[in-house]
Every structure is written in structure tokens, then in C-alpha cells.
């Protein structure tokens, strides 16, 4: 080139560069950058085509293709390292290809485009790779170093511009995000007072009004019964009556739209329906508004509104943030509502628990008291405020039947917490009051579960049994006294009947004799019953005395059997005592009680034996510690089923074969109790139709 040509060329280049820098600095966004930029590039570089790829993630996305088949825009993004562009991007080194036909790595489209030469340069700014820029010629061209420098200069400019635009976009986005975060933060802070619905709502509306530069905010909630959205208090920037008079049908106005469409809606021109609603509520001077539904778990609770007296106060871009904030508000509103419901339920439960007479208390997993009803206060003398949060074992000590404290680890509540199995006890426990006195209780304790089925605590319901026990004692006393009082009359009757039967009161006709005999027998049975009842009564009240002393069982047996010989003879039965072959040790027992059991068993044996014999045997156990007295008969025997219940109170055998002479069902129970009180045991072996052996053992006097 001549020097003038060179100067002119240089001027042109400068001009172009100037143009490019103008384009670059003025481009507001990337889209308005590419086209003019490339036009300039094609001109200044005197090439036929160009393309620009921008790095997005790990791939190069084609943004512009000038002078090329538009098809090329449909091609998939090029990964780093692949093809010419990918390699340049990866290596960050420009590449010049003079003869494309020889290049195998070029894309198909490029080859089809009939392009011959190219330069590809990386687009870098501030050390950051932004993409790749390529220019192409149809004719073969030997690109010079100066071409490369020129293109690089241009691409540097372009890169800087891209960076500037991107940065500014980022800044704007950041600013928005900061605003959002700030708003969320403010609302979150107010969540700490979550349990106060009014406070939370007011704060939320206030924050939102501020962010969106509006003066009024109102929450409406759906009334399920009337299907209306009704304004709730508190409202922001509105009087109470304005808020409460704001009522909207779910199909009408902007509120209705937001409600059933489930999206936020803004209106910079208020529609007539909404105007009506605002008029009804006496809300004037609303030029623009925004409304969003409050949704929680696919249920729409209501609609939140912001009103502004400025026109066009709200922009589309505000909808996103407004939506986010409204969903936050929804969670808050829902939680508050649920909490009020729970509080209401809790109140109801408390009222219920207060009204029942039983004491009810609950503990958490750490055994701290979380609830105590008013009955507990009355029964123990504690105030619920004093004991809340305390370890329950310190405040409500449990005592055993001897009024000794039960260790916390041993308490039924602890077991319930571990096993989850409900425990009920009606006797043997006392509860200590605040003043250290105690009273008998009956209680039930059960585990408390959370929604996931885990044990989170336990609950106890108990009642004061003092009155009950007093009544029980009085009952027993009464029975004792009454039966005692029956003895004298019965004995009296026996005496008189005897006098009649003996003929002492005059001659007794045969019929009278028979009848009076029956009465005599009835009276005898009565005497036995009263005797049994008195024994039972004494045993239950712990009033039966046992004067334990060494006694000779054989002697006792001999003496007792003598008194039964007459009875045995009458029934034609043999009654014998198998005397022990060698002397047996003495037993430790109360002689009267020993006799009582012996008499009962021998009497039974004779009663239930029709023919044969009754034999009494003494047997020493192998260890020599217990001496057993055995009464065997050849009577009717006892079925297996009956044997199981034989020693229970009031159990009588229902057997058609046995003649029920008497039989209160108490005799054997009494024998069992007596044997046990003397540290012995009683048992039966029997075979129906063969006979029975009743035996009771008592401890031998230790040497």
C-alpha cells in the first residue's frame, strides 16, 4: 500500500473503531449490541461472514451468525475443546485458517457455506473468557498479523462491552434480590411473635406496603360458610370499618381473580367491579392496586391486597416479589390461625380437665411437669405455677403400701415412658402432698405420642381413695359387727329348739318333731355361715390372731378325730388316723387354727363320702422342713375344673350327685388363708369317682 493509502486505511480503521466503541458503550443490552457490531466488523475487516459464540457454563452458545445459513443457529452448543471454536475457547489462543477445505474439524454448516478462510479469536475481558468471535471469507485469503491485531482490538472492545452490560444486569438483579431478602427478613423477624396473629399481620402488611410504596394494605380471608372474602383486622392504613366492610365474592373483582386463578394480579386501572367493592368499604382514592392469593398446601386461605393512591405504582416486575412475600404471609397467617385453634382446643381441654374430679398431670420425656389440672392443686396443695417445669418425682412423690417412698426409676410412669404400655393400679399406693401428708390413690398412666408415633411424654390420672377406703372399712366393720350380733340369737334358738326336741317343754307329736328338727338344722347352717363370715371378716381385717407355738400334730389329730367318730359311725364310714411309725418333729402353728383347718377338712371328707373311709396321715417332706397333714377320703371326687377354683371365696361345686348339706363356699378359702398365715400351703389331689386327698403343710420347729 502507498503511504496515503495506508493513512486512509488507518483513518478508516480508526473511524470504524470509533463506531464500534460508540456502539459498545451505548448498547443497553446484548441484543442491541450484536447486529450493529457485526455490521461494522464485516465492513472493516472486509470479510463475508462472522459469528459470535458466548460461553454459558461449559458450552459455547451461538448468538449471532451473519452471512451464514440461519440453520447454523439451530446447531447444538459447542463444548469446550470441540471444533475450531471450542479449541480456541479452551486454549484462549486465536486461530487463523487460510484453507478451510483442508480443515476437518470445521462444522458441517461452515463447510457447506463455501467458506475458505477464517480467523477465530477468544473474547476476553479482565482475564475472563466470555466467548469466541469468528470471521470468514469466501475467497481464500492470507490473513495478516495486522488483521489479527485489528480483530483482537475489536473483540476486546466488544468483550468489555459485554462485560459491562452483564455487570449492570447483575447489579440490578442483586439489588432486587437484596430488596427481597430485606423484606423476607423483616417478615421473618415478626414471625418470632408468631403467636400473636394481629401483631404479625400488621407487621407483614406494613413491610409489604413500604417495599411497594403503597399506603394501604388489607388481608381478606375466606369465610367458608358464606363463600365471601372478608377483610380482617388489623389492616394497614385503613380504618377498622373500612377493613371490615371490604367484602368480595370469590368470583368478582380483582380479589376474585387472584383467588380463583391462584396468581398475583396488578391493576393500574381499577375495574368497575373492584370500584364497587372499594366503594362499599368506603375506601377512596385508590388509583392502582395489587392482589395475591394466600395459598397454603394447595388451599387458598384468602387474598392479600395493597392499594396505592399513585397511578401506575406497581409494575409487572413487582408481581414476583409480591408473590413470594404473600406466600410468606400465608405461612404466617396459617400458623397463627392454627395456633389460635390449638389454643382454643387447649382451653377446651383445660376446662374439661379442670371439671373432672380426678387429678390429671402430664410430663415430658425429661419427666418435667408440663400440665397439672385444678384437681391436682386441690388434692396436693400445690399451685400449678409452682410445679410447672419441675421434675415430677420431686413434687409428687409416690409411696408404697407401707408409705415408704418409691424411687423415681421404679415408678410406673417411668415404665410407661419406656414401653408405651398403659399401667393401672387401684391399690397399694399413696401420694404425698405438699405438706408431707399422704393419701391412698388409684391411678392410670399412659404414654403421650406425637404425630409421628414417638413417645413424647406421659399422662397420669388418679383419684383420692380415702373416702372409698373409709367406706370399705366401714363396710367390713359393719359386716363384722352384724355377724357378731347374729351369734347370740342363733345360739339362743339352738338352745330353745333343743329343749323342744328333748321333750322338755312337753310331748312333741311326730310331725312337730320333724318340722322342729328341720328348723334346728337350718339354724345349724346359719351358725356355720355366721362363723365362716366372721372368720373371713377377721382374716381380711387382719384381726385373726395366730399364736404360733410348737405343737404335736399327732396329738391334735387324735383328739379331733375322737369328736368325729360318732358322725362317721352314723354314716357307716371308717374314720382313722394312721399313726406315724416313728416320732415326728413338732410343727410351729397356732393350735386352735391348726384344729380349725383339720376340723374343716375332716368334716368335708365325711360329708362328701358315701361309703368307705376317711384316713388322716402325717408326712414329713424330704428336706424335713415341712410336715404335711393329709386327709384322704373315698368320696365322690372333684373334677379338674372345680379343683382350679376350689380355694376361691364363695366357690361351690355344682354337682348333682353331691348332696349339698351345707357349704358356704368359704370354708376352703378360710383354710387356705390360715395355712398361708402360718407359712404353710394347702392343696388338693382328686379323682372323680375315686376320692380326694386334701393336705396342708406347716413348717417344722427348727432345731
Amino acid at each position: 500500500m502507498t503511504s496515503t493509502a495506508k493513512t486512509r486505511y488507518n483513518q478508516k480503521v480508526l473511524q470504524s473503531l470509533y463506531q464500534i466503541s460508540e456502539i459498545s458503550s451505548q448498547a443497553k443490552d446484548l441484543d442491541s449490541l450484536w447486529q450493529p457490531l457485526f455490521q461494522q466488523i464485516l465492513q472493516i475487516m472486509q470479510v463475508d461472514a462472522g459469528t459470535l459464540l458466548i460461553l454459558e457454563g461449559n458450552v459455547l452458545q451461538r448468538k449471532v451468525a451473519i452471512g451464514l445459513d440461519p440453520q447454523i443457529m439451530q446447531e447444538p452448543p459447542i463444548p469446550l475443546g470441540k471444533g475450531i471454536s471450542g479449541k480456541v475457547a479452551q486454549s484462549r489462543k486465536p486461530q487463523i485458517i487460510s484453507d478451510l477445505t483442508r480443515e476437518k474439524t470445521a462444522s458441517a454448516v461452515l463447510q457447506q457455506a463455501d467458506l475458505h478462510s477464517l480467523i477465530t479469536v477468544p473474547l476476553q475481558a479482565r482475564g475472563q473468557l466470555l466467548g469466541v468471535l469468528s470471521i470468514f471469507t469466501r475467497q481464500q485469503r492470507q490473513f495478516q498479523r495486522s488483521d489479527l491485531e485489528l480483530l483482537s482490538t475489536i473483540s476486546n472492545q466488544a468483550a468489555l462491552s459485554i462485560l459491562a452490560i452483564k455487570s449492570s444486569d447483575l447489579l440490578l438483579e442483586n439489588q432486587r434480590k437484596l430488596e427481597q431478602l430485606d423484606a423476607l427478613n423483616q417478615i421473618s423477624k415478626s414471625i418470632s411473635s408468631l403467636f400473636n396473629f394481629e401483631e404479625t399481620l400488621y407487621t407483614t402488611l406494613g413491610v409489604m406496603a413500604k417495599i411497594f410504596h403503597s399506603e394501604k394494605g388489607l388481608l381478606t380471608l375466606l369465610d367458608f360458610k358464606t363463600h365471601l372474602l372478608k377483610g380482617v383486622l388489623p389492616a394497614f392504613g385503613l380504618a377498622d370499618n373500612q377493613a371490615l366492610d371490604f367484602r368480595v365474592r370469590t368470583e368478582e373483582a380483582i380479589s376474585g381473580q387472584a383467588f380463583y386463578r391462584g396468581i398475583p394480579i396488578l391493576q393500574n386501572q381499577i375495574d368497575s367491579q373492584t370500584k364497587e367493592v372499594l366503594k362499599r368499604a368506603h375506601i377512596f382514592d385508590v388509583k392502582s392496586m395489587i392482589a395475591a392469593p394466600l395459598r397454603v398446601k394447595s388451599q387458598t386461605l384468602g387474598v392479600l391486597h395493597l392499594f396505592s393512591q399513585s397511578e401506575n405504582n406497581f409494575q409487572k416486575v413487582d408481581l414476583g416479589l409480591f408473590s413470594i412475600l404473600t406466600s410468606q404471609a400465608a405461612v404466617v397467617v396459617n400458623s397463627s390461625m392454627m395456633f389460635s385453634q390449638i389454643a382454643e382446643e387447649k382451653n377446651k381441654a383445660e376446662i374439661l380437665l379442670s371439671s373432672i374430679g380426678e387429678g390429671v398431670y402430664a410430663v415430658d420425656k425429661d419427666l418435667k411437669l408440663i400440665f397439672v389440672n385444678s384437681a391436682v392443686e386441690k388434692l396436693t396443695g400445690w399451685l400449678s405455677e409452682e410445679v410447672a417445669g419441675q421434675r415430677y418425682s420431686e413434687v409428687l412423690p409416690l409411696l408404697d403400701k407401707d408409705k415408704k417412698p418409691i424411687a423415681p426409676e421404679e415408678r410406673p410412669l417411668k415404665q410407661v415412658l419406656n414401653s408405651g404400655k398403659t399401667i393401672s393400679r387401684s391399690q397399694g399406693y399413696f401420694l404425698e402432698r405438699r405438706d408431707k401428708t399422704s393419701f391412698p390413690i388409684a391411678f392410670t398412666t399412659a404414654a403421650i405420642y406425637n404425630a409421628q408415633g414417638k413417645i413424647t411424654g406421659a399422662i397420669v390420672a388418679f383419684r383420692d381413695k380415702t373416702a372409698e377406703l373409709e367406706v370399705e372399712e366401714m363396710k367390713k366393720e359393719l359386716i363384722s359387727i352384724a355377724t357378731h350380733e347374729l351369734r347370740a340369737p342363733i345360739t339362743g334358738m339352738k338352745g330353745y329348739l333343743e329343749m323342744i326336741l328333748e321333750g322338755q317343754t312337753g310331748q312333741v307329736p311326730a310331725e312337730t318333731q320333724e318340722v322342729v328338727s328341720e328348723v334346728w338344722q337350718i339354724n345349724e347352717n346359719l351358725a356355720i355361715l355366721v362363723d365362716d363370715l366372721l372368720n373371713v371378716s377377721r382374716l381380711e381385717q387382719g384381726r385373726m390372731q395366730f399364736n404360733l407355738q410348737p405343737i404335736d400334730a399327732a396329738e391334735q389329730i387324735e383328739a379331733t378325730l375322737k369328736t368325729f367318730q360318732a358322725q362317721a359311725k352314723k354314716k357307716n364310714l371308717k374314720l382313722e388316723f394312721q399313726k406315724p411309725t416313728k416320732p415326728l418333729p413338732q410343727i410351729l402353728a397356732d393350735p386352735e387354727r391348726y384344729n380349725q383347718v383339720l376340723i374343716n377338712l375332716v368334716s368335708n371328707a365325711l360329708k362328701y363320702t358315701i361309703q368307705g373311709k376317711v384316713v388322716v396321715v402325717l408326712a414329713l417332706d424330704r428336706a424335713g422342713r415341712y410336715l404335711e397333714t393329709q386327709i384322704s377320703d373315698s368320696g365322690v371326687g372333684i373334677s379338674g375344673q372345680d379343683q382350679k377354683h376350689l380355694f376361691e371365696k364363695f366357690y361351690r361345686i355344682k354337682n348333682a350327685k353331691t348332696r349339698q348339706v351345707s357349704g358356704t363356699g368359704l370354708g376352703l378359702w378360710i383354710c387356705k388363708q390360715i395355712a398361708q398365715r402360718m407359712s404353710g400351703k394347702i392343696r388338693v389331689r382328686s379323682q372323680e369317682g375315686v376320692g380326694s386327698t386334701f393336705s396342708f403343710n406347716l413348717p417344722v420347729v427348727p432345731r
Binding site: T491, G492, G495, E498, E502, Q504, A527
Partner: protein, 133 residues
């Protein structure tokens, strides 16, 4: 064939606070031919013993105010009655302690009220009085 009771076989004092029993025993012994007096307390018993001079006393242990043993102390202390035979009726059972106590006062027989019939008491009474002659 009803037995004809011999007339006036002696005088018996019954010290028993239960009216039903006292009257029944009284009837029995009267049918048996004895003269019978009843006292419902220890004090009354001592008075009636002094004035009536019974041949035998049937004594209940459980008496109001003065119990049977205290009665016996006074009874035996009195030279007039220190040898009068006594038959004890009790509902307290036959523990050794009680029997020993009774022995101290030279009691002729010891019966548990509700385990014995009036017939048996009468038989014993007859036995005792006969041995005395």
C-alpha cells in the same frame, strides 16, 4: 317320753349381759329343775350372789365395766363364795393364757359359748353339783 325334772335341784346364778342368751339358759335350767337367777353385769352378779347364795354360777367373761375375771377375784375373795363352783362361758376361744387365768380361780369348766349347746352345759352343771354332793 318327756322326763319329769326333779324339783329344786339347786340354785344357779347366770351372769350374762346378752339378754337372749341369758333367758335361754334360764329356761333350760328351769326346765331341768333348777332355780335360776340372772345378773346382767359383774356388779349385779356380786350383789345377787351375796343375797341369793347360789349353788353354782354360770359366768360370761365379756361383761360391761367389770369383766368376768375381775368378778371372780371379788367372788373368790369373799369367804362365803370362795368355794362356789363356777362354769365359765366365753366367746374368746380357748387360748392357754385364758385357761391358765381361769385355773387360778378354781373354775369347774370352761366353755366357748357358740361352740357348745345348752344341753352340754346343763350336763356339766349336773356333773359338778353331783360330785359336790
Amino acid at each position: 317320753m318327756p322326763a319329769v325334772p326333779p324339783q329344786n335341784r339347786g340354785k344357779i346364778l347366770i351372769v350374762e349381759d346378752d339378754q337372749v342368751l341369758a333367758r335361754m339358759y334360764q329356761k333350760k335350767f328351769e326346765l331341768d329343775g333348777y332355780q335360776v337367777e340372772i345378773a346382767f353385769s359383774g356388779t349385779e352378779g356380786l350383789d345377787k350372789a351375796k343375797s341369793g347364795q347360789p349353788n353354782l354360777v354360770i359366768l360370761d367373761i365379756m361383761l360391761p365395766q367389770m369383766d368376768g375375771f375381775e368378778f371372780l377375784r371379788h367372788f373368790r375373795a369373799n369367804p362365803n363364795t370362795k368355794d362356789t363352783p363356777v362354769v365359765i362361758l366365753t366367746n374368746l376361744g380357748t387360748s392357754k393364757a385364758l385357761l391358765d387365768e381361769a385355773q387360778k380361780f378354781k373354775v369347774g369348766a370352761y366353755f366357748v359359748k357358740y361352740q357348745i349347746s345348752a344341753k352340754e352345759i346343763a350336763r356339766k352343771v349336773e356333773e359338778i353339783l353331783q360330785t359336790l354332793g
